[in-house]
Amino acid sequence: MDYVIEMLNIRKEFPGIVANDNITLQLKKGEIHALLGENGAGKSTLMNVLFGLYQPEKGELKVHGKPVSISSPNDASDLGIGMVHQHFMLVDTFTVAENIILGKEPKKFGKIDKEQAIQQVQELSDRYGLKIDPAAKVSDISVGMQQRAEILKTLYRGADILIFDEPTAVLTPQEIKELIQIMKNLINEGKSIILITHKLKEIMDACHRVTIIRKGQGIRTLDVESTNKDELASLMVGREVSFKTDKKEASPAEEVLHIQDLTVKDARGIEAVKHLNLSVKAGEIVGIAGVDGNGQSELIEAITGLKKSESGTIMLNGKAIQNLPPRKVTESGIGHIPQDRHKHGLVLDFSIGENISLQTYYQRPYSKFGLMNMKNIYEKAKRIIAEYDVRTPSEYTEARALSGGNQQKAIIGREVDRNPDLLIAAQPTRGLDVGAIEFVHKRLIEQRDKGKAVLLISFELDEIMNVSDKIAVIFEGSIIAIVDPKETTEQELGLLMAGSTQQEVGKEANV
C-alpha cells in the first residue's frame, strides 16, 4: 500500500483524560482523507500529534514508510507536513508575505530580503491559483484571503501533505465549493490531504476515504463511495440520528419584536447593520441565516442594549427599547443565550449558583438594601439545576468545572426562568455534543410552543433549517429575504447568504 502517512495505534493523554486511545490513520498518496468526529472526539489532538505540537504516549508514526519522530512543528515541516489551522495563525500587524516567510526568511547579507519574499510568495500564489496580495497587512484582508495565506504558509515550506482543520466554518457554500476545488487542484499537483471536519456534506462531496473517531477511539475507515450521510452520522455519534427535529406546526400570534430601519455601527465605526427590518411573533422561531460578519453580532448587541444604534427603532411588545442600557432591556422581557458562553455568558470563577443569578442578584429576594442573601440565591440555583438537568457536583461548584453542555444548560435555564417574552439564542449549540444539541433544540421549540418569541442566530444551516419556522437571510447588514424552511434548499439559502437576490434565485419574495 502506498501510504504517505501512517499513524499507528496512537495514544495521547492529558491530565485526567485520554484524548486519543489507540487510533490508526493511514493516508494514501494523492487522496483527500476525512477525519470525522464530533466536537471533543479527539480529531485536533490527533493532528497536533502529527504536526509535532504534542508527543504521543504510545504509537508509531511513519512517513513514506519510514518510522519517524516528530517533536516540533519544524520536524513536521521538514518531513513535508503542513497544517492549515482552524483559527488562523496570522500576525495581524505583519503583511501576508511576512507571515508566510516567518521562520524561513530569505536573506541578503543577513537582513531579510523583502523583494525575494514577495516574489516567492507571488510565484506560489500563481502556481496554485491562490489569489492573494503579498504586501497587504493581514488586518486589512478578507477572511477568504487569510485562509489562502494559511495554505500558502504550508506550500512555501514545501509541504506535500496538508492537514486542513475545520476550514469551512467561516465560509459560505460558494466559498466552500471554491475551497474544495483548490483542494482538488492540490491533489493534481501531487499533494495529499487530511481534512478534519464534522460536516458530512463536505466529506461526501470532496473526500475519497473517511476515518471516524468517537470519544478518542478510532471506529472505522470507509471509502466515501460506499457510504452515505446517515451511516456516517450514526458512526460518528454511536447511535441512530434523526436529522429532523420533531415539532408541530407553529401558530404565531401577535408581534413581539419589531425592528424598523435599524442602523448600527461596528467597533470600527463602519455601518454593520443597515436599515434592517425584522419581525418576530409570539409562538414562532425566526432563524437568521448568514455568513459570520454580516451584522449578526451587531444586531444582537443593539437589541440587547450593548451597542448604540444610530437610527431606527426596536420595539418589544410595542415599547421602544433601542438604546436602553442592558439591564433595562433584560427587565423589559428579553432573554439572551450569548454566542460565546465563556466570554459573555458566565463568570467562570464564580460558582454556578452565583452565575445563575448574574442578572438578578440585585433584586429582591436575592438582595436587600445592598446586602446579598446567598441562601435565596443558592436555593434558586438548586431548582434550576434540577429542572434543566445541569450535571454538576453541587450548586457551589465553580462554573469553570462544568462541561460545555452543562454550562449551556445552566445559561438556558437562567434565561428561560426569567420568563422573557423574547428569547434570543446566538449560536446556542456551538461546541456541544449531539445529546446537548438535541436538548437545546427541544427547549427552544418548547418555548415557542409556550407562546414565546424566539430569535435564533446560527451559522449552521442545518440547525436553521430544522429548528426555524421562518428564515430571515442577513447579508451586509440587512434582511434581504424571508423564506419558508419547508420550501427552500441549502443551495438557495447559500446563494441568498452570498448576496443573490430572490429574483436571481428564482423565487418570489416571501414577506
Binding site: 496570522l90 500576525v91 495581524d92 511576512e98 521562520g103 537582513k111
Partner: protein, 319 residues
C-alpha cells in the same frame, strides 16, 4: 541670546540626561516586543550603576582612562545576569510579569545597598576617580554649525546611545531575528507553529533588556551621578519605561521620547540659563514626562498600541 547659542546649551545637556534613558528604553523595547512586561527596568539600571561604580572604584588605578568603558561592560554583564531572574520567574515559572518587575526593583536596591554596606561600611560610595569626560568628537565636531551643537563638548556615551538606537531599529525591523521576536510578542502561538521557540525568544528579549538596562544605569552613574547610593537612580528606570510607552514600542519613538524627557530633566539644571524656561516653576518640568506619557496612552498623542501578547504567559499546548 542667539538661537544657536541656546541650542549649544540645550543639546548637550539633553543628550547627557537622555543617553541613559535611550539605552534603557531600547532594552525595554526588546523585552516588551517579545511579550514580557518589564517594570523592572529601574532595578536593572540600579544594578548596572552599582556594578560600574564598584568596578571603577576598585580598578581605576589599573586601567586608568579605560576604566569607565570597562565599567560599562561590567554594568551590561551584571544587568544581563540580573534580568535572568525576571526571565525565569515570568517565562518558566509563569509569575505575573508586573509583580515580578516590582520584586526585581526591590531586590536590586536591597542587594546592591547590602553589598555597598558590606564592602564600604557606609550607605554611599565615594566618588569615582575615572568618570567619563566630555570631549569633541574627532572630525564630526569640525562640521560647521552641526558640529558645534552635536559633537562638541559631549560625552561619547551619548553618541553611543544614538548609534545603538539605529542598530536596534535595524535588528528589530530588518533582520529575521527581529521579525521572529515581534511575532512572538504579537501572536506566540502562530510563531510556535512556524517552528519558532517562543520561550527562547522571550528569554533573549528579557536578557537584552538586562544588557541595555545595565548599560543605561552604568552610563548614568559614570556621567551624571559619579557615585552610588539608594538615591542614585530614583525613577530614571520609570522614565525610561515612560519613554518606551510614549514611543509606542519603537526604537526611534523611544529614542525621541527619551530625548524629550532628557530635555525636561536637564531643564532643572540649565533652565535658569534659558530665556523661556526661567520663569516656569520647576515642578512642571519634573512632572512633564509622566503627564505626557499618560496623555500618550490615552490617545491624545495618538494611540499607543502595545504588542498584542504583551503580559500573557505563553502556555504551550493550550488550545
Amino acid at each position: 541670546m542667539g538661537f544657536l547659542q541656546i541650542l549649544e546649551i540645550i543639546v548637550p545637556a539633553t543628550l547627557v540626561y537622555a543617553a541613559p534613558l535611550i539605552l534603557t528604553a531600547l532594552g525595554g523595547v526588546f523585552s516588551e516586543r517579545s511579550g514580557v512586561v518589564n517594570i523592572g527596568l529601574e532595578g536593572l539600571m540600579v544594578v548596572g550603576a552599582f556594578s560600574s561604580i564598584i568596578f571603577n572604584l576598585f580598578f581605576a588605578d589599573t586601567f586608568g582612562a579605560l576604566t569607565p568603558w570597562l565599567g560599562l561592560l561590567v554594568g551590561m554583564a551584571i544587568g544581563g545576569l540580573f534580568s535572568l531572574i525576571h526571565a525565569v520567574a515570568t517565562i518558566t515559572f509563569r509569575a505575573d510579569q508586573t509583580v515580578s518587575g516590582v520584586a526585581i526593583n526591590m531586590l536590586a536596591l536591597g542587594a546592591t545597598l547590602f553589598v555597598v554596606k558590606l564592602i564600604y561600611g557606609k550607605a554611599q560610595t565615594d566618588k569615582i576617580t575615572e568618570p567619563f569626560y566630555k570631549g569633541d568628537i574627532p572630525l564630526l565636531s569640525d562640521i560647521p554649525i552641526i558640529g558645534d551643537i552635536f559633537f562638541k563638548d559631549v560625552y561619547y556615551t551619548s553618541i553611543l546611545a544614538l548609534a545603538l538606537a539605529v542598530v536596534a531599529w535595524f535588528v528589530l525591523f530588518k533582520m529575521p531575528f527581529g521579525l521572529r521576536l515581534r511575532a512572538v510578542g504579537e501572536h506566540p502561538m502562530a510563531a510556535d507553529t512556524m517552528g519558532i521557540k517562543v520561550y527562547r525568544m522571550r528569554y533573549i528579549g528579557v536578557f537584552i533588556s538586562g544588557l541595555f538596562g545595565g548599560l543605561g544605569g552604568a552610563v548614568y552613574a559614570s556621567t551624571i551621578a559619579l557615585d552610588f547610593s539608594h538615591a542614585t537612580i530614583t525613577g530614571q528606570g520609570f522614565i525610561a519605561l515612560a519613554a518606551l510607552v510614549f514611543g509606542k514600542w519603537h526604537p526611534f519613538g523611544a529614542m525621541g521620547a527619551a530625548l524629550f524627557f532628557g530635555f525636561a530633566q536637564s531643564l532643572s539644571i540649565i533652565g535658569s540659563l534659558l530665556p523661556l524656561f526661567q520663569d516656569i516653576p520647576n515642578v512642571y518640568m519634573l512632572i512633564a514626562p509622566y503627564v505626557l506619557t499618560i496623555l500618550a496612552l490615552t490617545g491624545f498623542i495618538g494611540r499607543a498600541d502595545a504588542p498584542k501578547a504583551l503580559g500573557t504567559p505563553y502556555l504551550k499546548g493550550k488550545r
